[in-house]
């Protein structure tokens, strides 16, 4: 049993309305010094040790992320 974390973020050139809305809200919370926010998805998977990198990559690429507009990173831990 291992914990694998996959973080999915929009490609840098893709508009992120959510992140922009958060930046806007920060003003109202008067929190200063946060210049940019990008919002993505965070997945925590429980996987048997049998599952190899390749499978996880395929899974991330087909199910967790939309490769047309998103990138992803995989972390074991």
């Amino acid at each position: 049993m291992a914990r694998v974390v996959v973080d999915v973020v929009l490609k840098p050139e893709i508009l992120d309305p959510q992140g922009q809305a958060i930046v806007g809200a920060l003003r109202r919370l008067d929190i200063n010094g946060v210049t940019d926010v990008r919002q993505g998805k965070h997945f925590e998977l429980e996987v048997d040790d049998s599952v190899d990198e390749q499978t996880i990559t395929r899974l991330a690429d087909t199910l967790l992320a939309n490769p047309v507009i998103e990138n992803f990173t995989i972390r074991r831990g």
């Binding site: 309305p17 959510q18 809305a21 958060i22 806007g24 809200a25 109202r28 919370l29 919002q39």
Partner: protein, 223 residues
Amino acid sequence: MPPRIGVVTFPGSLDDRDAARAVRFAGAEAVPLWHADTSLHDVEAVILPGGFSYGDYLRAGAIARFSPVMESVIAAANDGLPVLGICNGFQVLCEAHLLPGALQGNAARRFVCKEQLLRIENTATPWTSGYRPGQEVVIPIKNMDGCYVADERTLDELESSGRVVARYLDGNPNGSYRDIAGVCNAAGNVVGLMPHPEHAIDALTGPGTDGLGFFLSFTGVAA
């Protein structure tokens, strides 16, 4: 002098005009309240309407909760001002911690728009006093994040203290825990409701007139 009910408009509010129309249908005066304006213009009640305030980005209601007008609404609600949050308004009230629990994405992970059967379970609030206890009504529901969730303790307490205001019947449209469609605060003056009573005030444009009771309940009391 008809009672004056404030209807808040946040950027992205959608059902504010409909809520105002319903207020007028019920014989009250609808007072527009702007999100950036802290004054409540001494209204006798406030409605937080449906919509996608700030696009519902981040979480539904999460950003609207910090609007200037909400500071005043929160203060007034804690002093007993009747407040009705409909759909996005319900989400804002939960985010503002005026109501327990939270609203999550629908279990089916799709927007759902349908005519929904409900049972009114608490008729002691200023928004439901016009209904018979256990009355069954048909009211449209339309939301993306309508799944009411809370921890077991909170749910048990809501049930035992009769704070479940309305419950879904024959089919739970969004996976809400214990089929909860609406709840109120301990004092009963703040009510949050996922379905849209303002869209059930006229058989021409909705399933019927079952929703009018929420507005008449208030005007009936105040008038």
